[in-house]
């Protein structure tokens, strides 16, 4: 394959810089959480995270050389590989804290449900790119994406990991709304969906119901999840305008959160860097999101446009759910903060996602 010189000229340096900035913020905050433990074991977490970021960058650079339209052609294969991994994880996965989410790969573990997010975006983009028209998609066009969602949704719910499953749902719904649906379809789904809510309640596990009830009334469980939310709010609030300073956080040192280096990492940042730090991170994120939307706009084919929008939406949903969760305005569901939270599968998934954005971005002027 001849390498178009324009590809290098059009390389999206801005997006790369932005990504590296956010990753650096993540490392700084992660350092705070591991330093609080003051022992050798937790530094291993820091080293592992560096390794994952390095791997993520490698995959990112390696993948941009392949045209993203190959994703369109390979979407079915990618999709079923991920489904297979989800089945394997259900059968042989590591049992941690009452659910099977992890596959052990030597010293590392991975979460196939993370990869499924990207795979589903690619699949749905591929389906919709063939059918979008002036009037929007109809009932018949929605069947395939619905099936594509239902299979991984069911598999992930049975792990059980409701947070990720719902994220897949919102992702699919968001992309569908993005490509426009006919009014009738929209209304029918609302009519069908509303009665389903009480049904879902009965399907929830006890601990999931407890989380939602606790969210509505934190005093209900002052020793469990309610305690975590209160402590998280104390950590965030006590940061005030400029924060307590790097490594000066006391709440994080207290070990009040079981997952302060993963899902609750933002409260550590908020405590040490204050309102200023939080706004800075939100600003970086917002620029990243708008950048992604712009890539979607400047792309010249439908698949690329929808794909870029899907990836951007995925990053947005994770940010919003996670931030709202640690501030106590949403129930506690296990959604990590993109590029900041500790965790290999999450870091790599999001970096591959950004790799896809770069891939689309640098081909915006290229001829087919």
């Amino acid at each position: 394959m001849m390498f178009d010189r324009r590809l290098i000229e059009c390389f999206d340096w801005g997006l790369l810089v932005l990504t590296l900035l956010i990753l650096s913020v993540g490392l700084v905050v992660l350092y705070s959480t591991v330093a609080a433990g003051e022992n050798a074991v937790s530094y291993v977490l820091f080293q592992k995270q560096m390794i994952w970021m390095g791997m993520g960058l490698l995959i990112m650079f390696a993948s941009v050389s392949v045209h993203y339209r190959h994703l369109d052609k390979g979407s079915v294969a990618i999709y079923f590989t991920c489904i297979l991994l989800l089945v394997i994880v259900l059968l042989f996965g590591k049992y941690v804290g009452g659910s099977r989410r992890w596959l052990a790969l030597g010293p590392f573990t991975m979460q196939p449900s993370e990869l499924m997010k990207l795979s589903l975006i690619i699949t749905i983009s591929s389906i919709y790119s063939g059918v979008v028209g002036e009037k929007g998609v109809g009932f018949r066009d929605i069947i395939k994406p619905l099936i594509a969602l239902t299979i991984p949704f069911g598999l992930i719910v049975s792990q059980p990991d409701l947070g990720t499953a719902l994220l897949l749902f919102f992702l699919s719904a968001g992309i569908t709304l993005f490509v426009r649906v006919r009014k009738r379809v929209f209304l029918v789904f609302i009519a069908l969906g509303a009665p389903a809510v009480p049904l879902v309640w009965f399907l929830l596990k006890d601990y999931q119901k407890a989380r939602i009830l606790t969210f509505l009334n934190p005093d209900r469980d002052p020793l469990g999840a309610g305690y975590h939310i209160i402590q998280s709010k104390i950590a965030i609030g006590s940061g005030m305008i400029t924060g307590k300073g790097f490594l000066q956080g006391t709440q994080s040192a207290l070990d009040f959160l079981p997952e302060q280096h993963t899902d609750f990492i933002l409260s550590v940042l908020a405590e040490e860097w204050g309102f200023a730090g939080c706004l800075f991170l939100l600003f970086l994120y917002l620029v990243l999101l708008l950048w992604g939307l712009n890539i979607s706009y400047s792309c010249r084919d439908m698949f690329g446009s929808i794909l870029a929008f899907g990836v951007t939406l995925m990053i947005f949903l994770q940010i919003f759910i996670n931030v709202a969760m640690v501030m106590g305005i949403m129930p506690v569901v296990g959604v990590p903060l993109p590029l900041i939270s500790y965790g290999g599968s999450s870091v790599i998934t999001n970096m591959v996602g950004i790799g896809i954005l770069m891939n689309i971005s640098m081909r915006r002027f290229a001829s087919n």
């Binding site: 609080a36 433990g37 003051e38 022992n39 050798a40 074991v41 937790s42 049992y95 941690v96 009452g98 979008v132 002036e134 993005f178 426009r180 005093d219 002052p222 020793l223 305690y227 209160i230 402590q231 104390i234 950590a235 965030i236 609030g237 006590s238 940061g239 005030m240 305008i241 006391t250 709440q251 040192a253 207290l254 070990d255 908020a270 405590e271 204050g274 309102f275 939080c278 706004l279 939100l282 994120y285 917002l286 999101l289 939307l293 712009n294 979607s296 706009y297 010249r300 084919d301 439908m302 446009s305 929008f309 951007t312 939406l313 947005f316 919003f320 709202a324 501030m327 305005i329 087919n368």
Partner: protein
């Protein structure tokens, strides 16, 4: 390529999305503003005064009583030593002081701290479990010199009658990470103990309480300022077992120094009154983890103290099995009350001679006297006419060859052979001669003492097989004990009342008859019905058996005795096995006799004997 119209809507959608995301971020920023700027002052203060900590409050585990409310297992306070590293600075000096006060080697503390690398400096690390009262006193007295050192009280399981009913009561053990991961133990945390064996395990759901907790505010030195929130622990429920402690103790006293088992059952409902298995083990050794030396000793002991012989010991039923042979023979019409037979001391079958235990023969016997005197030849003939498969069908109908379904774990099912079984197991056809051995309870037959007790109870109560049970009732705090499970009938003996009457009479004569094999155990004022049995451990030639010197212990026969009393309306059914006890009538039967006497005295059915004179009288009788 995207056409113009498409481009237009794409643009509108993307602008909409950008607006949506920006507004969402504005909401998040507003929330940050609210928490960090408007309420920031308050939260900063809360985080400084630092702080709110969680203290868990252990729930006490339910107690275990016997059927009459005698306490068998309770909880005693145990004191543990912990340290909070953050409060204990300088840690090294505090540990040295602590070691000097308590005489516990410094290295012990250090290893505990090293083992706890992952934990934070704010969570207490346990240094020593179960310190003595003296150590407690000295630590409390010098608490000022020991910053960060905590003494916590923890209830510790205490088995009041150590070694007694150990197999039934069971013991606790620390939960392991695999068990935690299964999610079967909600509310249980690492380091907690769960039932590992016996009643402690199978009744875990009742005995386990629910941990509570307190959200407390502490000051800089870790002292409690105030309690913010409390969730009360829910104590575990008390469990009443069906056993009778007095009887249990009596049985164990008599089994002392022997390997064997005793099971006693209430024939009217299947309540297990006694479940003894010797040798036993001390459950108190298991608290806080048994030492590997002790564990190895227990496992290496040839008399297997860790096995509950009453449900796991499988023995040939020997002559006690003649009950089944007689029952099957009567039902199948092979014999009746008047069928007579001549016993010459041996029975020629094919080219082999099958001997009766009585070398010179019983002479002319009928069914009742054959049972009374345990004539082997008579039952060889009955067995021969029945065949192995008919016998097996009746045996299974009587509850043998399958678990009784008691609540305890790892119950063995014993073995009732059939011709099909032998074909499957060994690939060989059944030999008719083997049926003869089976008819007198030797050969492949295997039963557990519990199965025999259940069978005996059913003969005594007129044919009803009950599922034996050890759980009488469960009691939550301040409530009445509630029976969680009613007596359960699992079936009836495959025999009519007439047949049962004949068998009951035969069994009565074993004790009450003039030639009965267990006539030495009679009790004044009550009739007992029973059956002796001598199970061959090792088949040997007749002449070897007649040697004068005693046999090797491991080659000696097992001694069985089963009985129920009173014979006409039984309140207790007993099965006794003494491994290598040799003599059923003088080794096993007296154990049952003493239990019958103790229980009937307790029930007021016979007069308590006044000791000195009666003892001498008894000797005269024998």
């Amino acid at each position: 390529m995207i056409k113009g119209a498409d481009r237009e809507w794409l643009k509108r959608r993307l602008i909409g999305s950008a607006l949506f995301m920006t507004i969402a971020f504005a909401i998040l920023s507003a929330r940050f503003f609210y928490l960090q700027i408007i309420q920031g002052e308050d939260f900063r203060r809360l985080s400084k005064n630092n702080c709110i900590r969680l203290k868990s409050v252990e729930a006490s585990r339910g107690l275990i009583f016997d059927r009459n409310g005698v306490l068998l297992v309770d909880n005693r306070p145990s004191f543990n030593l912990s340290i909070v590293l953050k409060d204990a600075s300088p840690v090294a000096r505090t540990l040295e002081t602590l070691s000097a006060f308590t005489q516990i080697p410094l290295a012990d503390f250090q290893s505990k701290i090293d083992a706890n690398k992952i934990g934070s400096k704010y969570t207490p690390i346990q240094l020593k479990k179960g310190i003595t009262r003296d150590q407690l006193a000295v630590v409390e007295a010098h608490s000022f010199d020991l910053p960060g050192v905590l003494v916590t009280v923890e209830p510790r399981r205490n088995y009041i009658y150590s070694k007694s009913a150990a197999h039934l009561l069971g013991y606790l053990g620390e939960i392991n990470s695999d068990e935690l991961a299964t999610g079967k133990y909600p509310g249980v945390r690492g380091g907690d103990s769960i039932g590992r064996y016996g009643a402690e395990k199978v009744f875990e759901q009742y005995l386990r309480g629910q941990r509570g907790g307190r959200q407390v505010e502490v000051d800089a030195t870790g002292c409690l300022v105030r309690v913010l929130n409390t969730v009360d622990p829910v104590p575990g429920k008390d469990v009443f077992l069906t056993i009778d402690n007095t009887l249990q103790q009596a049985a164990e006293t008599m089994l002392e120094g022997k390997a064997g088992a005793v099971v006693a059952i209430d024939p009217s409902n299947g309540d297990v009154l006694v479940m003894a298995s010797t040798p036993s083990f001390d459950q108190n050794d298991f608290i806080g983890g048994i030492s590997s030396k002790k564990w190895k000793e227990l496992l290496a002991d040839e008399d297997s103290p860790m096995s509950n012989k009453s449900i796991q010991g499988e023995y040939p039923p020997a002559s006690a099995y003649k009950i089944i042979t007689a029952l099957a023979g009567l039902e199948e019409g092979v014999v009746d009350l008047n069928t007579r037979s001549y016993c010459s001391g041996q029975y020629q079958f094919g080219n082999r001679v099958y001997r009766c235990w009585k070398r010179w023969g019983h002479g002319e016997v009928d069914l009742i006297s054959a049972m009374e005197e345990s004539c082997d030849v008579y039952f060889y003939k009955v067995g021969e006419s029945l065949g192995v498969d008919a016998l097996a069908q009746y045996a299974r109908g009587c509850g043998l060859g399958k678990p009784t379904g008691i609540e305890l774990e790892n119950e063995r099912s014993g073995l009732i052979p059939t011709s099909a079984w032998k074909k499957r197991r060994f690939g060989e056809a059944w030999q008719p001669g083997e049926t003869l051995s089976i008819a007198i309870g030797q050969g492949f037959n295997l039963v557990t003492p519990l199965q025999m007790a259940v069978l005996t109870a059913a003969i005594g109560n007129g044919g009803t097989l009950y599922r034996p049970r050890v759980l009488k009732a469960v009691q939550a705090t301040d409530n009445q004990p509630i029976e969680v499970k009613n007596p359960e009938i699992t079936g009836g003996l495959p025999a009519g009342q007439e047949t049962l009457k004949i068998i009951q009479k035969g069994l009565r004569n074993v004790v009450q008859g003039n030639r009965g094999t267990a006539r030495s155990i009679r009790i004044k004022g009550v009739e007992i019905a029973g059956k002796t049995g001598t199970a061959q451990v090792f088949s040997m030639k007749k002449k070897d058996r007649e040697r004068d010197e005693p046999l090797d212990y491991n080659l000696r026969d097992h001694a069985w005795f089963i009985c129920y009393a009173p014979a006409d309306n039984p309140v207790i059914a007993i099965s006794v096995i003494i491994e290598h006890g040799e003599h059923a009538s003088t080794v096993a039967a007296p154990v049952a006799r003493n239990l019958v006497r103790a229980y009937l005295e307790q029930k007021g059915l016979i007069q308590a004997e006044t000791h000195p004179e009666d003892k001498s009288k008894e000797k005269d009788d024998v």
